[in-house]
């Protein structure tokens, strides 16, 4: 009998797919081959806002190798357009179509599609399409968006305001007027994008013979796509199969549905042939979701003892020309206002959000969705208050936290929180870093003209969206499903609705199954990303892979284990309660050798020699289970990050020296994978803080749509990062895991913002516009 082995849960199992990837043997969307596939290229709008007067396609159509030139008129009978699935009361929406109809509303919007024998030929033909435009005034100014004479992003809008909401307590000026100290700031978070290394892509094949549609797409949610394509193209959902092959990064970019993707699928329906579209990098920078662009004002009132009395934040989000689909653009602003100061006891918390139309690309749901901004504005003002009142910023936080033992609580903005550990995380950070010594060293170096800063940001991240939660998105956030089967060899097959884009969902799910079923980790194989092979579910979004997929696997494994032990008990002439299974060996729990049976032997009997089992109900070594949350909201997580930076006051350059994170993800199934999720997330948060900005000019032209000009963090830009944990298991699930995918990004922005301000505060300077580029730093230092 196998000796008791280490539990898989809690072990740093290596990923099986990593062994493929290091040999270049992944299958990404552009690697999907299909006989007779044709290639699609798009003519994209060069204007931010213009009417389409005429489209001339004859020259393009005549080019040898071109199969079809497609305009909106060709697709109109196939697709009636769509609006976001995530609606809010009063949310003004405009309908999107696969291709622009009579007007373009942002630079990069798809207008004409050319289908040709090769991508190069399709691009040649795009060059031959002529369009007569009538330019319209573009609405690109965020500050002036609501002015009465402001240009409107769509001519039929009464104004550019798409949505507004008051959140939490109404404004109470007296609380600020009478407070011992009020700190306030105006922030600007500039527009950025997601930039997964693999661009988006689709291979679609509609077969007119039987009306079936197969779609391969670089995406995280195949069932969502299947439902949306059925809805938008009027097809029978039962005849659609969506497969997501290896995905070269998503971070939110590939949870949405884009007009060029619908156009590609619609074109296959139109011409009855397989077609492929792969976005190039310029298209990705122009038309993948953009993120974050908000202007925020916030203020915090404190009493003499430093207790937080009142908080108010107002934000305006530059949504772009449409709301993202199926998840909405509003969430970025809504989460930013609702989550700010959520870690703290504050008597009065309120805010306002405005979401405005602009003639720019669409802002969607990028890693963290609003939470990085919530953390940055709250934590910045806390450190500013500490400096103003002479408090230690760590002590100020500890004095105002919601105590770890006080949960569950509901915030004044209506968010349900439970099982958080701000106190424990900050104390743990204090054990890892000797903060007073570090501050003293910074002080000493300041005397030598070296400007170092240390900053902290704590945060809450809401994770693991699921069906009945209050963040429900139609056709996107569904109950999840799993099918577990034991093959005759004893191998365990798992088909599950959560997916893997490299974060390690498959590995984590296999670890849970290995432990809960009692089989070796290597005997478990996971299938996901195929709507035909897996039960329905939401795929991956909002850090849900482990919290939802792991929990689902746990329950299914326990049920299948009971079936296995019951069957084994009949063969071994005992009762199931006396048996257990470890490492694929079933034996009496209290027993001597030889009385057991291996899972492989049992499975062989069940599949091939069922006559050896008693007559009656057949043993079924396969079962399916489904799970929707039965807790009220998303699963909250918390953490704290710290950053040490050095500012070169002559050049404005910020050098990152060290970064720390202490997170509470509840039960950690795979420490290695979690740590690397955090590091990768921090890198993206640092990108937002220091590097990443898509620059639009006043006319709505993107100034830097190349990777030479849109700066993402490089290996030489980033510091080493110390990652640690506090584990407060989620009390509303058995596994106890919380989402870990976005916390790194959420905490890093505020930590770096605070570190930079700590460095320049003694110079009388401050900065609240991100990214903190050298130019902005020099302006803040009054050295431009």
């Amino acid at each position: 009998m196998t000796s008791a082995t280490t539990k898989a849960i809690g072990s740093s199992h290596r990923r099986g797919d990593a062994k493929l990837f290091v040999g270049g043997r992944g299958t990404y969307i552009d690697d999907v081959a299909m006989p007779g596939v044709l290639h699609v290229a798009f003519l994209r709008s060069p204007h931010a806002h213009a009417s389409i007067v005429a489209i001339r396609t004859a020259d393009a159509d005549a080019l040898p190798g071109v199969v079809r030139v497609v305009t909106a008129a060709d697709l109109a009978p196939l697709c009636k357009g769509w609006q976001t699935s995530q609606t809010y009361p009063g949310y003004v929406l405009r309908t999107q179509y696969p291709l622009a109809t009579d007007r373009v509303v942002f630079v990069g919007q798809a207008v004409v599609a050319v289908v040709a024998e090769s991508r190069a030929l399709a691009e040649d033909a795009v060059e031959l399409v002529e369009i007569d435009w009538e330019l319209l005034p573009p609405a690109c100014d965020l500050e002036g968006a609501m002015a009465p004479d402001a240009a409107r992003a769509h001519p039929d809008l009464a104004g550019n305001l798409a949505y507004q909401a008051e959140v939490g307590d109404p404004e109470n000026r007296a609380l600020f007027d009478e407070a011992a100290c009020v700190v306030e700031a105006a922030f600007r978070f500039n527009r950025q994008t997601v930039m997964p290394m693999e661009t988006r892509g689709v291979v679609a094949s509609y077969l007119p013979g039987d009306g079936s549609l197969s779609v391969y797409q670089s995406h995280t949610a195949p069932h969502q796509l299947r439902s949306l394509y059925a809805t938008h193209l009027g097809l029978d959902e039962g005849r659609i199969r969506v497969i997501c092959p290896h995905v070269g990064g998503s971070f939110g970019a590939k949870i949405h549905l884009y007009s060029d993707e619908v156009a590609t699928v619609a074109i296959s329906r139109l011409i009855g042939r397989p077609v492929k579209y792969i976005a190039d990098r310029m298209e990705a920078l122009l038309a993948d979701i953009h993120a974050r662009e908000q202007i925020v004002t916030a203020k915090l009132a404190l009493d003499e003892e430093g207790r937080f009395v009142a908080w108010r934040a107002e934000t305006r989000l530059a949504m772009g020309a449409f709301s993202t689909h199926p998840g909405s653009s509003v969430q970025e602003a809504d989460e930013a206002v609702r989550l700010a100061m959520a870690p703290y006891r504050v008597r009065h918390v309120g805010g306002r959000l405005e979401v405005v139309f602009q003639n720019k690309n669409i802002v969607g749901q990028y890693r963290g969705v609003g939470h990085p901004i919530a953390a940055a504005i709250g934590e910045h003002l806390i450190e500013k208050a500490a400096a103003a009142m002479g408090f230690d910023p760590v002590a100020l936080r500890l004095a105002n936290y919601v105590a770890d033992d006080a949960y569950p609580v509901k915030t004044r903005t209506g968010i349900d929180l439970d099982a958080l550990s701000h106190q424990a995380c900050l104390r743990r950070l204090g054990e890892i870093i000797d903060i007073p010594a570090l501050r003293a060293e910074n002080e000493r170096l300041r005397g030598e003209g070296i400007h170092r800063g240390f900053g902290i940001a704590c945060f809450i991240e809401r994770t693991a969206t699921n069906a009945p939660s209050n963040a429900h998105i139609r056709k996107a956030t569904a109950q999840d499903g799993i099918t577990l089967s034991v093959d005759p060899s004893g191998a365990v097959r798992c088909a599950i609705s959560v997916t893997d884009q490299g974060q390690g969902t498959h590995t984590v799910v296999a670890q849970v199954i290995a432990d809960e079923l009692g089989v070796p980790f290597d005997r478990v194989r996971i299938v996901s990303g195929d709507s035909q092979a897996t039960p329905y579910g939401s795929g991956v979004r909002a850090s849900r892979g482990t919290a939802v997929g792991g929990e689902l696997a746990l329950h299914a494994s326990r049920e299948l284990r009971a079936v296995i032990l019951e069957a084994a008990a009949q063969l071994l002439q005992t009762v199931a309660e006396r048996l257990s299974m470890t490492d694929g060996m079933i034996a009496p729990a209290d027993s001597e050798q030889g009385n057991g049976i291996s899972l492989a032997d049992l499975a062989e009997i069940v599949h091939f020699k069922p006559q050896l089992l008693p007559r009656g109900a057949q043993v079924s070594l396969s079962l399916s289970r489904h799970l929707g949350h039965d807790w009220p909201a998303l699963v909250p997580t918390n953490g704290v990050q710290a950053s040490l930076v050095e500012v070169d006051v002559r050049t404005g350059a910020v050098r990152l020296l060290r970064h720390w994170a202490v997170d509470d993800f509840g039960t950690i199934v795979n420490p290695l994978l979690v740590a690397e999720q955090v590091r990768g997330g921090i890198a993206q948060g640092i990108g937002q803080a220091l590097f990443e900005e898509l620059v639009y000019d006043a006319g709505g032209q993107v100034q830097n749509a190349s990777l030479a000009d849109y700066l993402v963090p490089l290996a030489s830009d980033l510091p080493d990062m110390v990652i640690d944990h506090v584990e407060t298991p989620w009390p509303h699930s058995v596994l106890g895991a919380k989402g870990a995918g976005e916390a790194g990004t959420t905490g890093a922005v505020g930590a770096v913002l605070n570190a930079v301000n700590d460095a320049i505060r003694p110079l009388g300077a401050s900065i609240t516009e991100l990214p903190m580029t050298p130019e902005r730093m020099l302006a803040a230092l009054n050295r431009l």
């Binding site: 290596r14 190069a120 040649d124 930039m195 290394m197 070269g248 990064g249 990098r281 390690g504 290996a715």
Partner: protein, 157 residues
């Protein structure tokens, strides 16, 4: 952009002949004509490094080299480097350290790291970061990659 050229070169140790348009990039030809899809196309303007190949012993961007320029050359892709075992220590270290997530940048990272270790068997972390700064990874934050390269260097020594 017209006219088809015939080129002959060695690809992963085997002689090959291809008929290519002058405008076809080396990366596109390797992917779509030779079926070696481990050479990933990330930006097509020479910044991201995902399409790195080894051309006559030097790591170059497959998107910035035209296929016709490969005529007479010795070309190695991630598949060749993998099959020959020449980067096995790095590959093992990458898997062990989880120095990759989505895997899209990984072939370019490995070829670049191997080139670094061939000229500098004992690089500092700063040196490793510098050497890899022409290869963008969006998943890892690079630290695991730096660790893996350092670990592979140790194994090789």
């Amino acid at each position: 952009m017209s006219g088809i050229h015939t080129i002959k070169f060695r690809l992963n140790g085997r002689a090959v002949a291809k008929h290519v348009e002058p405008r076809t990039s080396a990366a596109d030809m390797i992917r779509h004509e030779s079926g070696l899809t481990g050479t990933h196309v990330g930006c097509e303007h020479g910044v991201c490094g995902a399409c790195s190949i080894v051309l006559d012993g030097a790591v170059v961007r497959g998107c910035l080299v035209f296929a016709v320029q490969l005529d007479g050359a010795e070309v190695e892709t991630i598949e060749g480097a993998s099959d020959s075992g020449r980067i096995a220590a790095l590959q093992a270290a990458f898997v062990d350290r989880n120095a990759l997530q989505c895997g899209f940048c990984t072939p370019g990272m490995l070829l670049t790291a191997a080139e670094l270790l061939s000229r500098e068997p004992n690089p500092s972390r700063e040196k490793i970061r510098e050497a890899l700064s022409g290869n963008i990874c969006r998943c890892t934050g690079y630290e695991a990659i730096v660790d893996a390269v350092a670990a592979a260097a140790k194994v090789k020594r």
